[in-house]
Symmetry: C3
Subunit: 473 residues, 3 copies
């Protein structure tokens, strides 16, 4: 059976013909704007070294936890996909065939939309992935990846990326960012802008794997005694400045909850002493993370780095998978998250500072209208990050706009984040967001809630201006 | 650039042409029905004294916390808007210009819809508010407000208001209501009906500012000893009767949670003694509020006043704003609210009384389908209030109907509340609700889930009949 | 006034003409597929005895808690409807008239859609129910029910039911299922397939009415000593096998929460001893239910029965109604339900077993996108049951698909459950689900998110294939 791969120009546009026509016009004016990617997980080594990517499975399958979590949920073993200790015996082509056999599982998911874009636009396929096209896909993609046109810098340029942020630990030496900056400065050098972001979880979360060793490394890197409270804080300040010199304009915090605290200095110091001792309770670990969010906010007021808070994921929920395969294996599950009480200590301290920007994300959509929009619609320091992770999808984005706009407006939001390590799909993700936002705006115009020229302005703002302003890019 | 202010006749109607046509027909039959406003916060002194309103900023800007919260969230100081201790140095025209400069912030919000109606319908503007029209707006509005046509009674009549309820503390003397009633009774006098509602939070909530002094005043007003349990209850009964004589058909309760209690009398009395002593815990304060809801329900069974419960707002969340500017400065944030366990004590006592009406509101939309609709679809005493506060908006109202109708039906709901002090926008708010309800009904007709004549009946019921029945107006 | 009863062929299809046309095509191909009903509450005695049903009120009104809860909420007494101790004095025709007088209450509810189908399709009415047609309805329905065409087996065949599952306690002797199986095996005998399901709540929930006596009966039936832990577990194994011999392919668990536990055997045994002693705390009862879910999962791995978990209903919320009328009187209210932490003990033990199927249901829609879809999109053993109970409705089903598909996909769902004792409406319920699913798929096609042939495949899968696979029917 012929199964054409069809990237319809109207995809993701509302079905009503009049709204669709309005959407086309709005989208037409923003679809070619440069990509500003303020938060993500691409590897800076790609852009520093510009080595070719590997084969189809290595690039598109093994690192994509959206993909392998779905396959695993339907009984495909992670080993088959080259994940885990048995990687030696794994066959990329066989893995790809398994993926192709199960392609129907992704119907209705954003992965399907992203990957179809990669298949059609990046690699030129005209037939849908499936058992009969699996080898053709594998061979074509693998061959393309060996070509110069598919090297990281070439893709970066072809994708019209104005700037991309990666995310690094304070323990990272940022040598790849330094290399890119050197290349940028070289006459005739590549001009791609690749900046870092300060993600201090490994030295802030006492329950992070290797936390104690991380503190030691933190001391080494900074020359501070990171087992004293003052040394530890000084080390953060130093590394934040180091990150800023490597382009960082933001920090990022991935905490189990949104809890913040604002302890008197002596209590904070005493808490840190317990954390450093290695004998602390889960409540003390939580309180320390909470305190550190407020400390980070204070440092942001000084150095201008924008804060991002990504709370609410129960990491590594599947004990057996974690034991065998490690972190980030598709077993992170969102939990109910409170913001109103959790953020109050930080907001009581810094909430009215217009010089602070704290961008809030959530995996708990029930807070969009109830908590986040009212908070962001009042506190000068708060902004709402876009629909995140499981909600970075057509319906997820629509729910975000529907639930937040009436209370927070558009101008307390910050455009789109792709938040991905799947480099090839970055344009697909931004394109999806542009399509959904334009469709949402078109709906407001069709209901005479906005003038057409206002929607056109907003389309530019949501696509390009707000993200640059919010992230100071 | 010309930016016409366009109040399109089809605004807020669904985009699909067939559904839109059905909506037009339903709306056409209800758009001119009188306004019944059973719950709100207009000032009865306006109708008693009929003095002109002040300038544009004084009427439309300073009192509207939807407006100034948004401006504040984007860095505008409250002082600029004439809020707070520095009011002396505030310039209304300058405040209005700041507002006009930031008008784009309200795109997609209900404030935009309400105010555009006020600008276009009440004042006749044909160009949109903006920096270039700010002075023209300010001068035109301020001049109009000085004219007789914009005095409170003239607007009341022009707006086709059949009855409006205000909300007063038990400590209020209701002299303005008495004055309006005297005017009503005067031959040839103004016939506008302005009733009060009994909002006893200041003498029920032990954590209310001035609670102890309020108790003393409560004693003075009633001649009861309000520091004894029996005297306190008798005082409530007396003031409820006094309020009923001033037109009240309802009470209203704004509690942090929906908790109710039904203590044995001796325990209730002992709890009251602790509350009166001024040395009580937060849990005791909460338990007392809970107990009083059940006491109020019992009194409602006796005197027929309809109860309204508005729970779930974390008041004055911003400590610095509260300290400097006081209550109601846009810093009230909704919280997750339980109804199922919270209401059980009251419902165990009075839930099966068809003679009681308890109207439930929420700021936590996750309870619409899960808790409120199932409760209201069973208990004879319960009804669902309309989408409230942050949810009094096009999408908020749609979510309310979508989430409650299938389980509670339409007839366990009570029509619309404007819940506002923004008198000029009252018709805009009722009109918005009528448009959204008619669009919702039209969608059901288009999907052949209702006959057209049923939708027409429902449009009348949702606009006019249900509110009069539920509130006994 | 003429009020035709109109079952429009396009009912419940999206209003947009293009999407509607796509829906018609998808629906046309699945509307006549056989009904597979894997979970419900019909009475097996109907199919064993094939006796005629009673009168209109007896069949359609008295047993339908969706109907009488709504009437009760609007002040109709349960006695009027023949419910409760005063049944002797109840008049079915009078009850039916009351129902007809209140038919408008059901506008916008699924009961209206289901019953209109029964009225129009099963009984041939062409005018809507109402006060003027009440007697005509009552007489026509009652007369029809006395005819052979309306006996249970005739309806089963006419309704094209391929298989129906009932739900029984472990204490049930399954004599009616045995009788049906004997009839099936009789040459020329009726071929309807009626299977049971194992619902062990009466012997697992220590707070179930009559639990201690149930344990005694459990011992009698099995010959095991069900007051010892090993005997109790053996009795379960024995009855599960007995149920499987009577067609059961599944178990079902209706717990207040989704809590699971995985205690060391000695602790489980000690907990059981406390439960059996009759002196246990509510926490111990909860922990025992939690432990038993994990025990049942272990047995399912051995015997292949599919597990269903239906948590989150606060049963018999109305104390007075429960005291007077007993269980299941429309006073069960959903509560907020956690799955992420609650299921972890069971999932840590068995979550990676592809040989186990655990189908999760919820009454708390806020978990669809946040918890259930991410869990089902990862764990091999998990599947998502369809929108349940209050959410078994057009909008409820739409919210289910919108919130779960993007993360869990379609293939971690299991088709439709009617979950009903209202036998006459079973085709209406399946038809409603098919219409909504086809409309949802058509929307994806219209937005170019699926190819038309994929949507056609999915329509078959959602209607027929997934339920048969998931339930092993």
């Amino acid at each position: 059976m012929a199964r054409p791969l069809d990237l319809h120009p109207d995809r993701l546009f509302p079905a009503d013909p009049a709204v669709r026509q309005l959407t086309r016009e709005l989208y037409g004016a923003v679809k070619d704007l440069p990509i500003v990617s303020p938060h993500g997980h691409t590897d800076p080594a790609w852009f520093a070294g510009n080595a070719p990517f590997g084969d189809a499975a290595e690039l598109l399958l093994r690192p994509d936890h959206y993909v392998f979590r779905m396959l695993y949920s339907q009984g495909v073993s992670l080993e088959t996909l080259g994940i885990g200790p048995a990687k030696a015996s794994y066959d990329p082509r066989a893995a790809w065939r398994v993926f192709a056999d199960h392609w129907h599982l992704f119907r209705g998911t954003p992965s399907r939309m992203w990957l179809d874009w990669v298949f059609a636009e990046a690699f030129g396929f005209t037939e849908m992935l499936g058992p009969d096209t699996a080898d053709h896909y594998f061979d074509t993609i693998t061959a393309a990846l060996a070509s110069d046109a598919f090297r990281p810098r070439a893709l970066f340029d072809r994708y019209n990326i104005e700037v991309i942020a990666t995310t690094e630990s304070p323990l990272d030496t940022l040598e790849h960012h330094a290399a890119v900056m050197a290349e940028n400065a070289r006459p005739g050098g590549w001009q791609g802008r690749v900046v870092t972001a300060y993600r201090p979880d490994p030295v802030i979360d006492p329950e992070f794997e290797g936390f104690q060793a991380n503190l030691d490394r933190f001391s080494e890197l900074t020359g501070e005694d990171c087992r004293t409270w003052s040394g530890y804080l000084a080390a953060h300040r130093q590394r934040r400045a180091f990150f800023a010199r490597h382009g960082a304009t933001s920090t990022d915090h991935g905490h189990p909850t949104a809890l913040t605290a604002d302890l008197p200095p002596a209590e904070a110091e005493a808490l840190f002493a317990r954390v450093v001792s290695g004998t602390f309770t889960p409540d003390e670990a939580e309180l320390f993370r909470a305190q550190m969010l407020t400390e980070m906010a204070g440092m942001s007021l000084d150095d201008g780095l924008v804060m991002q808070l990504h709370p609410g994921s129960f990491r590594n929920h599947n004990a057996a998978v974690f034991a065998r395969y490690g972190r980030d294996k598709g077993a992170d599950i969102p939990t109910r998250t409170d913001y109103v009480r959790a953020l109050k200590p930080l907001l009581d301290r810094y909430g009215n500072e217009a010089g602070l920007t704290l961008i809030l994300f959530t995996l708990d959509e029930s807070v969009y209208a109830r908590e986040l929009a009212p908070l962001a619609g009042h506190y000068p320091c708060l902004r709402l990050g876009p629909a995140w992770w499981f909600h970075d999808s057509p319906e997820g984005m629509r729910r975000f706009r529907l639930a937040t706009t009436e209370t927070a407006g558009f101008y307390n939001t910050v455009g789109f984040n792709d938040d991905t390590r799947a480099f090839l799909s970055i344009p697909a993700r931004h394109d999806l967001a542009r399509r959904i936002d334009c469709g949402f705006l078109a709906g407001l115009v069709a209901e005479h809630r906005l003038a057409d020229w206002e929607a056109a302005e907003l389309a530019q703002d949501l696509t390009y201006n707000l993200v640059k302003q919010a992230y100071k890019l």
